[in-house]
Structures are given as C-alpha cells and as structure tokens.
Amino acid sequence: MTAALRFDPIRLPPECEQLRKEVRAFLADEIAAGTFDPHKPNREDTDAPEFSRRVGAKGWLGMTWPKKYGGQERSFLERYVVTEEMRVANAPTRRFFVADRQSGPVLLKYAPEHIKLDILPRICRGEICFAIGMSEPNSGSDLFAAKTRATKTDGGYLINGTKIWTSSAHIADYMIAIFRTSPPTKENRRHGLTQFLVKMKQPGIQVNPIGQITGQYEFNEVVFTDYFVPDDHVLGEIDGAWKQATSELAYERSGPERFLETYYVLTELVRAVGKNPDTRSAEGIGRLVAQVHTMRRMSVSVAGMLQAGKEPVVEASIVKDIGTVWEQQLPHRVRDLAAFVEETATNRETLERQLSFAIKTAPKLTIQGGTTEVLRGIIARGLGLR
C-alpha cells in the first residue's frame, strides 16, 4: 500500500467519564447562573473573563502541561473531553481557547524558562488571552510571503508592519506572531521568518477592529510601528520559524472544534421534528448523525494516537478537511430538513435564529486555520503525489 491511513478505534479511558460529568455539572451551573445561553451560539465576540477564571480554577486550562507551570499533567484525551463539552454547550471559550490549544504549547517548547514560569501559570488560571499573528494583507495561506519586519536593535527587535484577520487581538494580552528577520534565500523561500512573543496593549501597537458578515467584530488589523520586542521573547530559531510550524499542527487540526462549530442546529432540528419524525426527516437526521459520529470517532482516534506518541499528520489534516466541509454543509442540510417542520414547533424561532447565524458563519469554517486547498495539498503530499 502506498498510502496506509490509520484510525485506531480508540475509546476514551474511564477517567474521562468522571471528568465529563464534572464538566457537564459545571456548565449546567454556569447556564443556570446566566453566564451564557447554550441556545445562542454567539461566543465569538463574547468576552467572559470571569468564566475564564472559573474554568482555570477547575484545572481545565493547560491541563496536559507540567505541574510546575500550573498544569495538571493529564492526558490529551481528558483535554479532549473538556473541549468537546464546552463546544457543544456553546460556552464562551474565546478568551482562553487559543492560549490553551496553541500558544501555551508553543511557549512550552520554545520560550525561555523565566517566561514559561511567568506566563503559563496565568494561562492555566484563565487570566490571559492570546492572539495568533500569522496573516498579513498580502500573505494569507502563503504564510512565507510575510513582510512585517523585525529589525535587530540593542537588546531586541523593532517591529514594523501589519498583521490582519487577527482574531481576539482587541482583547488579547499576548500575541505569538511571525516576523521577517531575513529575506528568503534562493534555495528556501520559507527561510527568514522568526516566531516572537508579543505583549499587547503597549505603545507601538494599534488594533483596528474589522466587521465580519455575521455582524460580529472578532477580526482585527494590528499595526506595529517601531514596536520593541526584547531578545528573550524570540521563540525558537532565528529565521527558522518554518521548521517549528508543522509538528504542532496535528493538535490544532484534529480537535472537536473542527466539526462541531455548527452542531447546535442539529440538536435544535431534532427538537423541532419531535418524537415521531416523518420518513424524510428521520432519514435526514440519521445521515447527519452518522456523519457527526464518524467525525468524532476520527477525531478521538487522532487524539489517542497523539497521546500514544504517534504523529498522524495526514490523518489530522483529513479530519480538518472533511470535518470543516461537513460543519459548513450542516446548517444548509438542516435548513432543507426544517422546511416542513410544523409551524407549531415550540423551538421554531430558536432554530430559525440559529440557522441564520450558522449559515452566515459557514463560509469561514473552511478558511480559518488552513484552507481546504492548503489541507488537500498537505494530504496529497502525504499520499506521495508531490
């Protein structure tokens, strides 16, 4: 076989079930207290700092990290359970999600010890928010076209240029960004970019909000003007950011957030059709449930393989490719099936409101965090085609 894909049928270990109960009880309390409405998927520009701290206090942020940095040294499968329960409940995770999934692990791997000791415990306590500075006005999927410069100066670097489509930059305390420290070489166009830790809310950084078609302001343009970053905020190898990007992507690409983004419309459709659906509704729901079940089994499988120390890079890209295409189609399929839902269905208004929002959200799902086209290129490489 030229292309042996693996999806081991991994089950969540027993300790996950106890944890799941705790997470569900916690979320039920938060809903009862009015922290958020699970029927209202608007968390993207909802900033919930107090909720974030309470999640941290539970020990559910940075939970796989070493204890000396505030972590719990628990497994990726346990983190998986927390993530999926939060996602399905439409909990306002925006403030901590990026730090927990992505920024923390980058710091763990590349930051100097004193920075790890300073920042990681604050992530674990749910106190700080991270943004990711990748895209620029003329550099999106083509990451290595980034032009924002980091020029060497005494004790650090001066940053000049613009990042764009930066989610949460308006509330973020830190950003992990790539800046150009050298021009690309003839042999390697990916050479010359360096990863930096950037402290936000400082002079020299201007954050301009960008409205999205959902009516929310989650995106930003971030303009750097002679912004100073000290030497100890360099993360990893100078000019070598391209070597660092790939290994972490498996974690980023295969989580439950990659197929559950619009899941709420399926729940609401089931509610709307009631206990005795007609054949058309039953078949439609059955096919959708088969999909979400399959996606979850694939996603859990990748999480389990990562926990076991394997590197399922192609499998993770496949999960994101078909997962995001599915969650993008879901609101449209639900709309088809809801067409004949009785006018008297008690949740009809909720369903319609959710559909409107989910349909507006859908286009971004196959763009953010690596477009479908980029992912298929990665899969094709894994298959030995490039």
Partner: protein, 350 residues
Amino acid sequence: MAESENIVVETAEKIFSDLADAQTINHDKKGEWKAPLWQALTEAGLPLAWVPEDCGGSGASLAEGFAVLSAAGRHAIAVPLAETMLAGWLLAQAKISSPAGEMTVIPAAPKDRITVGADGTLSGRARSVPFAKAAKHFAVLAGNSIALVDASKCRIEAGIGLGGDNSDIVVLDKVEPTATKPAPKGFDQTQLMLMGGVVRSLQIAGALEAMLDISVRYSNERVAFEKKISKFQAVQHNLAKLAGESAAALAAATSAADAIANAKSFDDAVFLEAASAKIRCSEAAEKGGGIAHQVHGAIGFTIEHILHRFSLRALAWRDDFGSESYWAVELGKMVANRGADELWPLVASR
C-alpha cells in the same frame, strides 16, 4: 487491533495475496482461481473463524474475524468468506454446529421475514441473499429461532448483483431444517442486520483503501500534457478527497467492529456505531469510488482493468443487510425518540 501482530490476519493476508490477486482473477475467464482459494481458506479455518471449537469451528475472536474481513475487502474477495463467517456466527448464537462448505445467511434484508410453522418447518422468501447459489447450507433466523437448512431443499432464483457476485432470491416452502434451536434471549433480526452491516462496512472500507492505493499509483505513472497526472492540482485534490472518504469509511467501520467485539449487549450506543458505519461507508463507496474512476479515465471503465472489481463490489455491498437509506431512517427514528437533549450524550458515550 494491530493486524500485522495477529497470526489469523497474517494467514488470511497471505492467502489473499497468493491466491486472490485481482489482476490474475480478472484475466481468468474460467474461474479456475476459485477452488484453490476456497480450499486454502478452509484449510486455514477461516470460513468458520467465528464458530467456537465445540461447534466445529476455529474459535477466533470477533476482532480477529473483523480484521480478516477488512483484508478481504482490500482484496475484493469474491468467494462467500464473509457470508460463511456470518452464517457460522449466527448458528453459534444458538449453539448449532456448523457443517463444512460454503454457507450464507437468511434473511439478508431487514424487511424479509422467515417464519416457523406449527410443524417446525420454515417458510418465507428472502431477497438479495449473497452467494445463495454457491452455498451448501443456510443459517436462517426465523422469528425467535435459529436454524440450519440444507440449501438443496430450497428454491433458488439466481441473480447477479452489481458487483458481479451472486445475489439470489431464496424461497423456503415448508422446509424442514437440519437443526433448529431457540435464539438467545433478546436476539432479533435487527442484531443480525447490524452485524451483517458492519461486515459489509469493513469490506467497503477495505475496497476503498485498495481504490486509493491503485489510484495513487496510477496517477504517478500516467503521463498527460507532458507530466504525470499526479502533478496536477485538480487531480491531487480529488485524490485527497478520496483519501478523506477512505479514512471516514475505515474509521467508522473499525470503530463499529470494535464496539460490537467489546459489547455486552446491543444497546443504543452499539446501534449508533453499526448503523453509522453502514451509512457512512455506503456514502463513501459512492463518492470515493467515483473519484477513483475519474482519476483512471477510460482505462478504469474497461473490463480488463481491475478497478471495477473494487468499485462495483463496494457499491453492491451498500445494499446488503439494509441500505444506507434504511439505516438512516432507523437511526433518525431512534435519535428523535430519545429526544434532542439525549443526542450529544449518545454521540459522546464512547
């Protein structure tokens, strides 16, 4: 299960590679490959893998048998191995010993019913029974009874299915069974159909793995517009989508097999696993098989090329033991009946 670590699966793989090479079979117009293949499988104890030793079988685990069937799918095996295994499994549920030779199961469609008369004879009509014509015995589920029936006592209306294998109508008219015993408490036709559905899902997933493999290989050989077609982005993205369909089928099928192998009872969670596998694998057979053909162009449409051995069987297997439409309706009803707020707990139950 790690397949390479298991002697049963290794044995099956070796037999398939030696005696069921798709290219050789495709060129063998007389079907001379069939007898040696079946003989080797029988000598290795594979057709009765799921039959305990005290019922005349080789007593392999469910997991081992499922892995053998994945491999059988990868080789598009066209002898009634899966059917005989399934029949032996059904008979073993009632502790009926399995005879030697080819078998298949009846019914093979969810809505067909075989009934037991007051005199203990069996009657009914079963459609789309795979390999009925090749079978010497049938394992029959009739109401709450499981029976072993001599094939010569039934009327068989032979038919050829989409994949080129026999898919026949079997009529039982007051047939006296060789043996009858009550089915275990709670065992019903739904369980038989789900088990059959998971077997077919594994075969489809295996066939898709093979289709991905031969499509990738072909795209790396075929030159058009002065370069290998694997270098065209449109072809690469199609193959990436085929990999996605293959992966989804593999994950759904192996997960369902694992669920059944470790299940204490056929509860809602097992139903979700098995029905989802049949639905998702059947969908993948259509989408993935379509891409495999597109990549191959005209050559893949010829009888000389091996692609159809995989693509058409995968499509045919969709229909056995309940199609994806049938299971989608059943799954949808189950989900609706449990209620909206019980959907996520079900999905997240394993």
